[in-house]
């Protein structure tokens, strides 16, 4: 393991070497950054029509170093730096997709995607329908979504609820390295426009991945949630970073004799309605956890599923843990108070358990 660590450290920046090293060793750790990088690298090697565009993706090696090494490997035609003009370059990506290429458009953060919202919704999402199937748009919009640390109100918004409400888009939100590799590769291969919501805080975090995940054809199904941890007393539902919080809360609650089932949504559109309902019917209690705002958030939809489809199986009203309904403040104490913590999840579980 020490030798692997040393080799991996020396291989940093080499988009080819790192996965090769990882494949050589039986149990491996992979950061989200490397999961994203290796997924894009493999898909670009597999299909010549796949290309990456966005701010700083090429020569800077990526604002968050996600596209490190790709320019060196594939050249400037396929790894393309754009000016800081989201509306224009998103439209260009969509047009290229209409004409048969497979662009990966990186938004430095999804906050900037608001400038390109019309192209994502009216151009990418709706064309297949308006044209009765004549036009397809095999594009992936990816980038950091939601709260970071200390970046304040205009750089901290979660866009999961807005994008996942649109028919015509697919919206994915990975948690760990396995999710990230499998879902990004599936997104790139998918013929529809996909919004791929990452989390900047998780980019440097490592997760164990087994051999199967490292395979160059490893894909995960779009539209299926994953039960990360089986349980019987309450269902904890979340996506992205909150899955980690839910897992932590489940560990702590186990010590208090409460058995939590942790569901990792993975896919926000389509939402795995059946998978969610199945878990709620099994445990009879549900707590939804997200960082975004409460009104019309993902939690609102989870609660709707619980009430509309699982009413007779509920032993308690559903609970939502969300970000506070405020623009994100800058001061560290206020920022912390605006976002969910494991304590909030513990308290919500105890409330639904009637404790």
């Amino acid at each position: 393991m020490q030798r692997l660590g040393a080799l991996l450290r020396r291989s940093q920046g080499d988009a080819v070497l790192a996965p090769q090293l990882l494949r050589t060793y039986a149990t491996t750790q992979m950061t989200i950054r490397d999961a994203l990088n290796s997924a894009m690298d493999e898909e670009m090697a597999r299909d010549e029509t796949v290309f990456v565009m966005g701010e700083e993706v090429a020569e800077y090696q990526g604002a968050y170093k996600i596209t490190r090494g790709l320019l060196q490997k594939y050249g400037p035609k396929r790894v393309r730096d754009t000016p800081i003009t989201e509306a224009g370059f998103t439209g260009i990506g969509v047009g290229a997709a209409f004409q048969g290429l497979r662009p990966i458009v990186e938004f430095m953060t999804f906050n900037f995607s608001m400038q390109a919202m019309d192209q994502i919704i009216n151009s990418a999402a709706k064309h297949h329908y308006m044209s009765s199937g004549a036009i397809t748009c095999p594009i992936v919009f990816r980038g950091a979504n939601g709260a970071a640390a200390g970046v304040a109100a205009q750089h901290s918004q979660c866009f999961a609820a807005w994008y996942s409400s649109v028919p015509g888009l697919k919206v994915l939100a990975p948690y760990d390295a396995e999710d990230t590799r499998g879902l990004l590769k599936a997104s790139i291969r998918d013929p529809d426009p996909v919004v791929f919501l990452e989390n900047e805080i998780l980019y440097g975090e490592s997760f164990p991945v087994d051999q199967a995940v490292l395979d160059k054809d490893f894909v995960l199904p779009i539209g299926k949630a994953k039960v990360m941890r089986s349980g019987t007393d309450v269902t904890l539902i979340g996506f992205g970073k909150m899955v980690g919080y839910n897992l932590k809360a489940a560990e702590l609650l186990e010590q208090e004799g409460i058995s939590c089932e942790v569901v990792n949504l993975r896919s926000l559109k389509p939402l795995d309605r059946e998978g969610i309902a199945q878990s709620i019917r099994k445990t009879h209690r549900v707590v939804s956890v997200e960082e975004g705002w409460p009104q019309c958030g993902i939690g609102s939809e989870i609660v709707s599923i619980a009430v509309e489809e699982c009413f007779d199986d509920l032993d308690a009203p559903p609970e939502r843990v969300t970000g506070a309904e405020v623009p994100m403040p800058y001061a560290a104490n206020l920022e912390a108070a605006a976002l969910p913590t494991t304590d909030h999840i513990l308290a919500a579980v105890k409330r639904v358990m009637g404790k």
């Binding site: 509306a87 151009s123 044209s131 036009i135 199904p221």
Partner: protein
């Protein structure tokens, strides 16, 4: 959509604008079609078109040749497009067409000239004023009328409507409802042509109303940075809805708005001038990168069927353009006045075209509306068997696998 304007307000507006309207009208009228300097040799006609105004590029020659067969095919198409739009007007007033309906009559020479110069392997994207574009790209009048009437025989099987017609096999990407959004899309089509080394171009068409949009300048910038084979075309019909170009644009010299990009202003009412410009622009774009064409054109109808089109411009202006610069009349005159064809042949074409349009209308009226199940089709290319909600909790639609 132009909000209802009281006749009093309209009168007042016309008085206030009277000075500038007359001036503008004079400007639009001054350039009649260059019907002089025509020579005929056998079946070939040589004519001088109106001069091009250029920006950072040499103008193409204004001497253009066309054969009788070419002119005949242009006339047929121009006449067909004209009659089609007039019939759409009639159908809209009869309430057979719902929603928005933006007509192209007056502007036909732009699309016919474009198609005369380019290939179906070149890509086009345009605004919501796209009925003629669909036909020019190889579609049928019946597909347009069927779509306007929301039938399954329509270009988009009834699911798009007036603004959303497409012909993927002919690289026609619509049909776009959001003003200006089609321009970055067009630059993206050009990027794909360059990426795949097709040797072709993409044409991104927009109006004088759209020409001030920020995303258009973003597209210009990237197209020029990356030398994309993109022809940006401003169809300047001088009015963005009810707002004249000089009230919306600090610089209405749209062919210069590409700044560092070359540009050309073209007599958009003359199919031969347009054809010449597009042939020249394609050669330029393939070799060098993007170029802007401004088509000096005119729409007889208002912005849409909700707009009478006469509150912000004078009826004199409209009728004088019709008398002096009509694109259909121009080609008819070239054919008849130069003895290239008998009047009876022209009459025959007109008669056949009217029959074609009438048949398209009858067929569309008889065609079915989409089946209810089409509400749920083509949302995704790969629906993955997902479940979407209907109107209430009793309806969950499971899509195909």
């Amino acid at each position: 959509m132009l909000a209802a304007v009281s006749s009093h307000a309209a009168g007042a507006a016309r008085q206030a604008l009277g000075g500038s309207l007359t001036l503008a009208a004079a400007g639009l009228q001054r350039r009649g079609l260059a019907a002089s300097a025509v020579t005929v040799e056998g079946d070939t006609l040589t004519v001088e078109v109106n001069p091009y105004k250029v920006h950072r590029i040499e103008a193409p020659p204004t001497t253009v040749t066309a054969t009788k067969d070419e002119l005949m095919s242009y006339f047929k198409q121009l006449y067909r497009l004209r009659r089609m739009e007039i019939s759409a007007d009639m159908l809209y007033k009869a309430k057979a067409i719902r929603g928005f309906c933006h007509l192209y009559d007056g502007q036909e020479a732009v699309i016919v000239g474009l198609e005369a110069a380019l290939e179906k392997s070149d890509s086009i994207i345009t605004s919501y004023r796209n009925h003629a574009t669909h036909v020019a790209r190889g579609g049928t009048v019946a597909e347009v009328i069927g779509e306007l009437m929301g039938r399954t025989t329509g270009a988009s099987k009834g699911k798009g409507g007036s603004m959303h017609m497409y012909r993927r096999e002919a690289n026609f990407f619509g049909g776009q409802g959001i003003v200006g959004a089609q321009v970055p899309l067009g630059a993206g089509l050009a990027l794909a042509h360059q990426y795949s080394d097709t040797g072709g171009v993409a044409v991104a068409m927009y109006g004088d109303g759209a020409a001030n949009q920020g995303q258009i300048f973003e597209s210009f910038n990237m197209a020029a940075l990356w030398d994309l084979p993109c022809i940006f075309v401003c169809e300047n019909n001088h009015y963005g809805m009810g707002t004249a170009e000089w009230r919306a644009a600090k610089s209405p010299a749209f062919y210069t708005r590409g700044d560092y990009m070359p540009g050309m202003k073209v007599d958009g009412m003359d199919v031969l001038a347009v054809r010449q410009a597009f042939a020249y622009a394609k050669k330029y774009a393939v070799a060098n990168g993007p170029i802007v064409l401004e088509m000096d054109t005119y729409r007889y109808h208002g912005h849409s069927m909700s707009d009478p089109g006469s509150t912000y411009r004078t009826r004199d202006e409209i009728s004088s353009i019709r008398q002096q610069r009509d694109p259909v009349e121009h080609v008819r005159k070239l054919l008849l006045d130069n003895g290239l064809v008998e009047a009876s042949v022209i009459k025959g074409i007109e008669k056949d075209t009217k029959k074609e349009i009438d048949a398209a209308i009858e067929a569309s009226k008889a065609a079915p509306f989409p089946d209810m199940k089409e509400l749920w089709t083509n949302i995704y290319a790969a629906p993955l068997g997902m479940q979407l909600r209907g109107i209430d909790s009793t309806h969950v639609e499971t899509l195909a696998a």
